[in-house]
């Protein structure tokens, strides 16, 4: 694939011939205006002036269109970013989320919100069914917020059993997502890091040794970050439960399992769903996502408030309610509602067959792509993603060079169990042709020398960016650029 990304410049510079140029100028550099604040409020309660960009609508339309051209999304090309599940985001889901009937305020009466409540009730049911869980809260606004919520559920459970103080540890595998560690620490727990076994999976003996009457929770991703299914999952659940702890499922990799296996059936007690991964809501350049949390029936009473239920003998009406021992709230309202609408629409579109097929094709694609790539893949059998090793090459440089081939590179240098890791997740949306082109990009880079890699990228808007300069000489606003001059 050949690729040249748009490069709008201020005209002062071409490819480094003239230093200190810039790409599309900042809004403030195009036009900025300071206006004095005159207000019906008394002067002592107001500010003197405010200075902001002042541009016409056509100028703005061009500015943001140019910025969009200097950006790359799933609709631009392949995006096999491991652990991120960069699926195609169906357009019609945007349309339903934009319906005026979806634009409602949280604080209205239940009676007047029957549509929203019906959709949320339906989504609670869908997610419970898909995860094999008994009750779901839609409130957490992201995956990490879901983890935090799940940990608070576990905390409330242990406290209710009089073991709140005693159970002060959360066990996390060394290969887990960074958020697992951070969420556990945020909730005030000691993090016990569990080293992976030689086969890249949970080492049962190490888990036996780590689990104790101090264990509140064991957080696990399955398939794990190497794409491997934890085949000993039932023994793992027994070890954790025998120690009196609970088992948490990090839903980041659920796209491998739809219709194939359910966390609830494997012995997990709590899980979160990354709907912006598994259920194709757009990542939006970093968010918003949503991280609903599902639990088994014994834990339902601790979930955040409110949840939605059918009114008894209510003729199909719905109401919000506070679970009996609710942990309270983890978001000011009910999380990212518009994302939840898109999630519901996606699941309603695919149904059983579509969801099951999505996972089947995601696993097929990962396996096919791996079979066509020259880099070694040390751990098998993987599912929806594989972790190749760049070997003697620097994985970060490999990624930069892949950009020149018009594809987004894999996640790099993680998990650390594979040296120079290239964590690759093509998802189900690519066909064979695209996967072949993607493999060509991998293989072309694999054959290139270090200098070529170190000098990449060349075809993207920006050439290699100096991260050290960014961190040493912090410029986090245009005001700080001004003061620099």
């Amino acid at each position: 694939m050949k690729y040249d990304q748009a490069r709008w410049t201020d005209g002062k510079t071409m490819e480094g011939e003239d230093a200190d140029g810039q790409y599309e100028p900042l809004l403030s550099e195009k036009n900025s205006e300071e206006v004095e604040v005159e207000s019906p409020l008394p002067d002592e309660l107001t500010r003197d002036s405010v200075e902001l960009p002042e541009l016409s609508e056509p100028e703005l339309a061009r500015h943001y269109t140019r910025l969009s051209q200097m950006n790359y999304g799933v609709d631009s090309g392949p995006y096999p970013l491991g652990s991120c599940t960069m699926k195609y985001n169906p357009k019609f889901t945007e349309d339903v989320a934009a319906l005026p009937s979806a634009g409602v305020h949280h604080d209205r009466s239940d009676r007047s919100l029957q549509g929203s409540l019906a959709l949320m009730h339906g989504l609670q049911d869908y997610l419970a069914e898909i995860g094999g869980m008994d009750a779901v809260s839609l409130q957490p606004p992201a995956g990490a917020a879901g983890e935090f919520t799940g940990i608070l559920v576990a905390k409330a459970f242990h406290e209710a059993n009089g073991e709140g103080d005693q159970r002060d540890e959360i066990i996390v595998p060394d290969s887990a997502h960074g958020t697992n560690f951070a969420s556990a620490a945020l909730a005030g727990y000691e993090v016990v890091e569990l080293p992976s076994g030689d086969d890249g999976r949970v080492d049962l003996e190490a888990l036996e040794a780590a689990a104790s009457d101090r264990t509140a929770l064991f957080m696990l991703t399955n398939p794990n970050t190497l794409g491997l299914f934890e085949r000993d999952i039932e023994e793992i659940a027994d070890i954790v439960h025998d120690a009196g702890g609970l088992l948490y499922y990090d839903g980041a990799n659920l796209n491998a399992l739809l219709g194939q296996a359910r966390p609830g059936d494997m012995g997990f007690d709590i899980m979160h769903y990354n709907v912006h991964k598994t259920f194709a809501t757009p990542h939006g350049g970093g968010g918003p996502g949503a991280g609903p949390v599902g639990v088994v029936s014994d834990l339902a009473e601790f979930l955040p408030a409110p949840r939605v239920r059918e009114v008894e003998d209510g003729d199909g009406k719905y109401e919000r309610f506070e679970p009996e021992s609710s942990l309270g709230k983890v978001h000011g309202f009910e999380g990212n509602w518009l994302v939840l609408v898109k999630t519901y629409a996606y699941i309603a579109r695919l149904g059983d067959e579509g969801l099951t097929d999505a996972s089947a094709k995601a696993v097929l694609n990962a396996n096919y792509l791996a079979s066509q790539v020259d880099y070694e893949v040390p751990f098998e059998p993987f599912h929806h993603e594989f972790v190749a090793s760049a070997g003697d090459q620097d994985a970060a440089d490999v990624a930069k060079r892949m950009l020149d081939y018009g594809v987004h590179p894999p996640t790099t240098k993680w998990p650390e169990i594979v040296s120079e890791a290239l964590m690759t997740e093509p998802t189900e949306i690519e066909n064979k042709d695209t996967l072949d082109q993607l493999a060509e990009a991998f293989n072309a880079v694999a054959a290139e020398d270090d200098e070529t890699l170190a000098n990449a990228p060349n075809r993207t808007t920006a050439r290699r960016i100096d991260q050290t300069s960014a961190a040493r000489n912090l410029r986090l606003s245009w005001q700080s650029l001004d003061s620099e001059e």
Binding site: M70, G143, R231, I465
Partner: protein, 447 residues
């Protein structure tokens, strides 16, 4: 009907494989069937069904539209932390460009300069509005931003202490989130009294001591009042080495006292007051703070840098604060944030420009004033309850039980908050002012 875009035997409509392609791929892998690729023990294989019908796009669209149509078509005069202003069409059309919408976090900055610049511009506009040097690329919402502010305060404060002081008007849900987030750090949330909708500085002076890590207040407050004592609150916090965290939003910030100038150390709020229509409380957590605290800031930061061609570029920076690198020692667990909402907020703010933004904010003062005055003229109502200036919303006293008034108004097609036994709260902006006459008429009927 059949074909590529219909559901049925093709499975996922967004998995483009033909039977021949699947066959060829399996044979390249050396497998006979896709099921062979799953390494799942028999005992945990799922052999049931979800019982979710598959639908064509047309059917799915109609289904969701049908569900949502069960929402009553009310004209909302609601606020209390979730605000609507008219969102110009430009915001939708540009933010929905799929290069923005379908992109991931900018971990490969060379290919995502566009989004990075947009976030840098968002940060910059909020730096101007708050006067504080650092604005992050977003938290989830006002409540979680407030919670993160308390955690930041506990980290940066030089002396020990565990008290977070909040005013009694703090929304229950914000307090709940604050307590959930700070419990692990051992902080305790304590309330101080307010006086007629503003902070009672005597009560705060009484409550504060050197154990306080943070004092929180709002401007405008949850009850719609403009806070007249921000400077005094800042001084009290400062006297005790506590951080002063101010809650606000970008519209209000354009005319109210600049937070930096009154001693605010952190500004939090819902920045989606610009950029997002009413969305069941979905928001954008504004988080601004002083440059001194930059290494303790939660969330992503976009900074300027240079590329190999010496051009100015943008990149995520100081990532060593974040969970994917620092893990349990990260400044926060946040990963996925509200970046796309920040893009929308930036577009909306730039669309308004300084004059448009100030005009919009002044409208929020005038509209609330006018409506309160009109309601005050209705027998059975007294508005506003607080003898203060107001912004967007105000509390009105009702002789009738507030709940009954709100219910009766709903029957007339309007939504307002019942916030006390005899108090309703009404919020008015450019988005609903066209219905103000009708609301007044309805109040005349029901009050």
């Amino acid at each position: 009907m059949s074909g590529r875009h219909e559901s049925g035997e093709r499975g996922s409509p967004y998995a483009p494989h033909t039977a021949e392609e699947t066959e060829a791929m399996l044979s390249a892998i050396g497998a006979d069937d896709v099921t062979e690729l799953f390494d799942i023990p028999e005992s945990v294989v799922f052999d049931g069904e979800f019982d979710i019908d598959e639908r064509t796009e047309r059917e799915a669209e109609r289904h969701v539209r049908g569900l949502l149509s069960r929402n009553d078509d009310l004209t909302e005069f609601l606020g209390r932390g979730h605000y609507e202003h008219y969102v110009p069409s430009l915001v939708d059309h540009l933010s929905l460009r799929s290069e923005f919408l379908t992109s991931y976090t900018q971990y490969q900055p060379e290919i995502t300069q566009g989004f990075l610049q947009a976030l840098f511009e968002y940060q910059s506009m909020l730096v101007e509005l708050t006067g504080l040097g650092i604005v992050n690329a977003s938290m989830y919402d006002h409540a979680t931003a407030l919670a993160e502010a308390a955690l930041l305060a506990a980290r940066v404060r030089s002396t020990d202490g565990d008290r977070v002081l909040v005013p009694d008007y703090l929304l229950d849900q914000r307090r709940d989130v604050l307590e959930n987030y700070t419990d692990g750090a051992g902080l305790s949330v304590e309330t101080f009294a307010t006086d007629d909708g503003n902070v009672d500085t005597d009560a705060l002076a009484e409550a504060i001591d050197d154990e306080a890590v943070m004092v929180y207040a709002e401007n405008p407050t949850t009850r719609g009042t403009v806070e007249e004592n921000v400077e005094a609150i800042g001084d009290l916090a400062d006297d005790h080495g506590a951080l002063f965290c101010l809650g606000s939003d970008p519209v209000a910030l354009s005319i109210l006292q600049e937070p930096e100038s009154v001693g605010a150390d952190v500004v939090v709020g819902d920045a989606a007051a610009l950029g997002l229509p009413t969305a069941y409380g979905m928001g954008l957590g504004l988080f601004a703070t002083r440059e001194d605290f930059v290494r303790q800031v939660p969330g992503r930061l976009v900074g300027a840098s240079e590329d190999a061609a010496d051009n100015r570029t943008y990149t995520l920076t100081l990532q060593t604060r974040e969970q994917h690198i620092r893990r349990e020692r990260a400044t926060s667990n946040i990963c996925t944030n509200q970046a796309w909402v920040a893009l929308r907020t930036a577009i909306h703010a730039a669309y308004l420009g300084p004059e448009g933004l100030v005009d919009l904010a002044n409208d929020c003062v005038r509209l609330a004033d006018d409506l309160a005055e009109r309601l005050d003229g209705i027998s059975g109502l007294k508005a506003p309850v607080h003898d203060r200036h107001h912004f967007r919303e105000f509390v009105a006293h009702t002789d009738q039980p507030a709940k009954a008034v709100a219910e009766d108004l709903e029957a007339e097609g309007f939504a307002v908050h019942a916030v006390g036994d005899h108090e309703v709260q009404v919020c008015i902006t450019d988005a609903n002012e066209h219905a103000a006459d009708d609301l007044v008429a309805a109040f005349e009927e029901v009050a």
